[in-house]
Structure formats: C-alpha cells, structure tokens
Symmetry: C2
C-alpha cells in the first residue's frame, strides 16, 4: 500500500488525555483513534494488526477442535436474570427499547451459549465439543484510562467447551492452556508472560490468568521464584505457598492480563438445565469451561512490551506490513522494487510521499514495521536499497533481488 493514499496521518504528539504508551503510540502512528474514553476506532493500520492477531488465534482454536460461530451483542434480560447476573454484575450495560423491554449488551456470552446448546446437545455422543467467536464485548468501565488495555467496547475471542465429566473438562483445559501459550508465543508475548493462579470462584479451585509483565499493567501478581508461575492479588492472602510447586518466595510485579481460562463447572449449565443422557441412560448435567483473550488488549500489550522512545517495534507475525519501503527522491527505482515486492506477495508499505527524509524516517520508526528499505541516490550507487531492521541500529545494502529473497 502507498502511504500517500492512506487516509490517516501520523501525529507528532499524542492527545493530552492519553497517558498509556499503547494509546499514545498507536494514536500517533495512526493505528487507533479515540472516540471517547474506552472506545476506539481501529484505523486501517490497526486493523491489519488486529487481523493478524485474529488469524493466529483462529488457527490455534481450530487446532484444538474449536468451531467458529458468532453470538449477538443484544441479550434478553431473562437470560441474565436466570443466572442472577442481571443485578449482580455492576459493569453490565442495559438497553431499553421503546416498548420498555430491556436488554443486556453482552460483556460475555455464557447466558447465550448455554441455552443455545440446549437445542443441539441431547446425548453423551455429542460430547465433548468446543465453540468460539470473535465478538465485540461491552463493559461499563466508568474510568477507562489504560488506552486499549481496558475498553468499554473491545474485541474478544471467547471459547466455550462442554463436557460430560470433570475429567474430560480437565483434559481439555490443559489443551486450551497449551493453545494459549502457542498464541502468546506467536504474537511475541510468551517470554514475558506468567501463568497466574486466580480464584476459581465458588465452583472450582483455581482459574488461570496469562499475565504479561508490564509497568502499564493494572494488575499485581506474585511470581514464585522457584517455578516462575504466579498468583494474583485476589488469592495472595489465602495462598501461602505456590499452588504449582509449593514454593514460598514470591516477587511482586505489575502485569497485564492477556488472557484467562476458567473451569465453570455447572455454574451456567445448571440455570439452563443443560443435561444429557449418559451411556447408562441417566441424566447428567454438563460441565463447561471458558477461555477468553482480548484482541485489542493483546495489540495494546504488544505495544507496551515492544516500543522505544521513537515508536513501536512490531514482532513480524503481527506487523501491519513486513517492510517499509522509503523513496528519497528516487521514485522510479523505488517503484520498481515496490512492484517486485508485491509480485512476491511481500506485504509492503511504500512511502511515496513528497516529504522530507527526516519526516519519513521518523514515521517509519513510529509506525514500527519490522524491516525498512531506503532507496536513495546513495543506496543506488552502492548497489540497491539500504535495508535495516526496526529493532537494530545498522543496516546494509541489498540488491532488489536479494531483498525480495530475504523477505519472502
């Protein structure tokens, strides 16, 4: 894509009301735009990143047998009353129509998926199975202040699994945990992330959070010095030893909850009477797991982890483009390389604008595409384009052919 044609522009400074690095850099780079606190437009560059993250998650969900579908955002009040969450959930947005009927704007979808499955699951032979969606969620955050880390409206992947026995749920839960590690690895967050024991509510012992270390994090975790697993603040006081290794020394750290997984047991199947006949003909209540990961939050967390004073440094798997091609007064030659890269299906962002070299370099650093290739009089005299990684200081001259070969 040609930078001259992109309708967004970079900005020299961030909006005054944005304090988090993710919001400041993503706004300045033209990835997102704040409509109001906690509510953002995802601009073309940002959408490219989000789609990369989405596809990674989709592949890993499909790999553990997840079936993709999509539930609505408007939920009937009755479903939420049935689970008691219509009144118990403080951050539930409620909508009333002209006839006085009330709806919830879904912050999560147990109240929709459990009754849905009642229509399809009738025998133990239908089990286990898992279904997931990418869906916009709504949560009434009165003080949204961490950029896209905590929104009133945000894109989330939620997977739900259904099982006949707790043992079967346990097995699937471990598979889902592994899938989450694969996702985090592919988006570049695994190394900084700690599996964190959290409360399992009244119905299971622990749930697990994937907590990524960051000073921008709103959460505090306590990392076991022995096994590197962690416990969250909520269970800290009542958990003297590490649930994983019994270690007793913990290090406090700030972290962002990148994802969480939860054995819901029969908490939501019971209110909707989601039972099947077992192999011996007896009726059995299903047990359920849920597995969430926020896509906008993942994008924000990546920026918190991967940036420097000049801008974002995208990991290749989630970068909006692979290479930022910059023409410094050598449009004809750059144009040829642009076409070569495109022909070879290399995602290229082409800075063909009529602005200064300094502005082009500053924008490239801010936007943070992993590779930068500069075509100038000097680079051409040396035999090609000056190619540099965003994460490194020094570049080298590569001919167009070698550049294509290296990036393919």
């Amino acid at each position: 894509m040609r930078q001259s044609q992109l309708f967004t522009k970079t900005q020299k400074s961030a909006p005054k009301d944005e304090v988090s690095a993710n919001a400041r850099l993503l706004t300045r780079g033209g990835f997102i735009d704040k409509l109001m606190a906690g509510v953002y437009t995802v601009l073309p560059l940002g959408l490219r990143v989000m789609k990369k993250i989405e596809n990674i998650i989709r592949e890993e969900m499909n790999a553990i047998g997840g079936q993709e579908f999509e539930m609505p955002a408007l939920h009937p009040k009755e479903n939420w009353e049935k689970t008691g969450r219509w009144s118990a959930m403080d951050d539930l947005y409620k909508v009333k129509d002209a006839s006085g009927r009330e709806f919830a704007l879904g912050p999560t979808h147990e109240e929709v998926i459990a009754p849905l499955m009642k229509k399809f699951v009738s025998s133990y032979k239908n089990l286990p199975f898992a279904a997931y969606q990418f869906q916009t969620k709504f949560r009434m955050e009165l003080r949204a202040k961490s950029g896209i880390l905590r929104g009133r409206e945000f894109l989330m992947k939620d997977l739900y699994s259904f099982h006949l026995t707790e043992k079967d749920l346990d097995e699937y839960y471990e598979k889902a945990k592994e899938a989450y590690w694969k996702i985090l690895k592919r988006v570049g967050l695994k190394e900084k992330t700690h599996l964190t024991f959290a409360s399992g509510g009244t119905f299971s012992k622990y749930s697990h959070e994937f907590q990524t270390l960051s000073d921008a994090g709103e959460d505090t975790i306590y990392i076991c010095e022995k096994c590197q697993n962690a416990i969250n603040r909520e269970i800290k006081s009542k958990t003297p030893a590490c649930p994983a290794c019994k270690g007793k020394k913990f290090k406090e750290a700030k972290a962002i909850e990148a994802g969480n997984i939860f054995k819901l047991m029969d908490k939501f199947t019971k209110p909707f009477d989601l039972k099947v006949r077992d192999v011996d003909g007896k009726e059995k209540m299903l047990v359920m797991g849920c597995y969430g990961i926020g896509l906008s939050r993942i994008m924000g967390t990546i920026v918190e982890v991967y940036h420097n004073e000049n801008g974002i440094i995208w990991p290749e798997n989630v970068a909006p483009f692979k290479v930022h091609l910059i023409s410094l007064g050598k449009d004809k030659e750059a144009e040829k390389i642009y076409n070569d890269l495109q022909k070879n299906n290399i995602e290229v962002f082409f800075d063909d604008r009529d602005v200064s070299a300094g502005e082009k370099f500053a924008d490239a650093d801010l936007i943070g595409i992993p590779w930068r290739a500069v075509v100038s009089k000097k680079s051409l005299a040396a035999g090609g384009a000056e190619v540099k990684k965003r994460s490194e200081k020094k570049g080298k001259i590569l001919s167009a052919d070698v550049l294509v070969k290296n990036l393919r």
Copy 2:
C-alpha cells in the same frame, strides 16, 4: 469438516414463530439460531457463508480504493445531537451508564466518521478518498418479522467517500454503483435485482437502492417496462416518468433492498465543519457519499431466491462448502475421497454420521451445498461416487480422480 463433529444439528421443522423462508430454512439447516425477535446467532455453517459474502464485498471495495477500518458501536450522544438525529431517529437504541451519561448504539456511522476525518483531512491534496467497515449495527425494530432480512442487530458493510467537488462525488458514485453490481453478480443476485430510484432527501435529487425481486420483500417497487430500472414507493406519487428513460409504464413488484447508495452532499460534513483549503487557498466544505450493504440481509435474500421445497440451493460463490460427501456404509472408501478433496483444497463437508441414507439425503438437500457426492456399494461397483448438483435431478458416476479434477 466432518458432519458428525459439527455441534449444530438439522431440524425437521422450523420454529412456529418464524414465517419467512430465509429464517425457516436457515434455522432448520443449522445456519442461524434466533436468540429473540430480530437477533440471531450465526452458527458455524452460517458463518462460513457470511465470510464468503464478506470477502466478495471486501475485494470489490478494495478494487475501488476503499480502505478498511472499524468504528465502534457505542457513540457519544453529543455527536448525534450535532446532526439532530439523537431526537429525530426513532429507531436509535440509547444506553445510559451508571454516571448518567448517554450513548447511542450505532445504526449507521456518519456521526463518527465525519469528526474522525476532520482530524486527518486538511488539504485538497488528501482528496478524494473512501473508507469502509464491516460492522454490527443496531436498529430498534419493534416488530422484526422477516427473519434475517430486518434485524435489530445485523452485520453491514458501510463505505463512505469524501470529495472536494460534487463532480468528483458523482464520478465515484458511479464507480461504487458498478462495484455493487459486481458484488450482486458474484453472490448470485444480479439478475433479479433492479436499480431503484429513491428519495435523495433534501440535499440530492435521488439516491439508489438495489432491490431484489422476492415475494418475501417488505418493499414495493415500480419497474419501468422500458428500461427495467425502478422507482420506490416513496417517490412513486411525485415521479410520473422513469428518471432513467422517461418511460411511463411501470410494473409493481415486491422486493428486498439488498443495498443502497446515497449522495449525502454536505449533510454530515457541515455539522462537523469538515472543510479543507482548495488549490486556490479558499476554504471548502467537503461533500460525502455513503454506500451500504447488509451482509445478513444478503444471506437471507440469497435463501429467499435460491431454495425449493426441500431446502436451500447455494450459489457456489457463497456456499458453506463446495461439495457434500456422503458415505452410505462405505466409510473407508469415502474417507479416502475426503482426504483427496482436502489435499486439493476443495471445501468438503463429510457426512460420516451413523444415520440412515434417507436422513443424509434430506439433510444434504436442506443444507444445500452445490455438489453432492455419494459413496455407496452401488456407486463403488459403478466406478466411484455418484455426483449430483443440488440444483439438478440427475447425477453421474465419477471416479475420485475425476471428481477432484472437476471440483478443483
């Protein structure tokens, strides 16, 4: 995909409260599930269709220079007050948070995109440009009764274009019109669709609707017998002659509005003061066009047009799978063909369930995948699978190799 693993099941009869063919067949086939009137879950088979439609639309929007992005669903009240639509729009859902602040749930996005563009567009050099999104819209329909043709919550593609002059808008409008015809052709609806002149509001002469003939349609159009363009009911009384050819004879017909395009002129740029400096330094208000097409409605319209008494007959471009492979007691042989098809990237739905032949055939007709390949003792003796188009009565025997070759 294996049919035995799909979490949805087909249903012999449709819910009593569904009257439209689209809702009845899509529900029975396991494409959608009604959560409440006008609000549907899109099940795995339905999502496959929606993604096909989405990709077709995306390709055609990109081809006319549209840049994809995503605006939020929650809108600040102030933006809607600025255009007067906070009180003027009857079907606007309003949400109040705990602090008393009010939001609109977006039924359309002019109130978001116009102020957004004010941040980026400063000179005539930035123009023209166009941006689009796929986004869930909300409309307070008190009596939603046409299945997914008219929902309270529905997926829509909306494109917005921005121009310095009316002439430039006119030119782009014609390009967008052509793109809409291409989309309709690819999803199989072009032949039954009439370009329909509709009111242009107070600010332009006409807008245009793409009206697809169907008895299920909620709209009435008047088709010019001479040129086959049409006018809608709203402008019928004040439009004695066809705006396209001056013809005076019209034929009344029921139709579904599959899409619409509108020259908004400065209706939304003015309230948000979206001006740029012209080439001669003078300030000029931008003019704007908008172009909408509902994806859930397109899916519903396709079903209304393409079905018979036994079920849906998907056009190939939007079908959930290309071929429905059915094993009648010959699982080993069918399994081999399933693998061959998958290896060749042919989208195959494999009925490996342990149910009767009659049930398998009935389900295949109901689900409506374009090709059906039956593997039975009889077909194997004759040299392969019995292959039949959903739209035809008679099939023929094809060897596995020829089947793969034909479908590739």
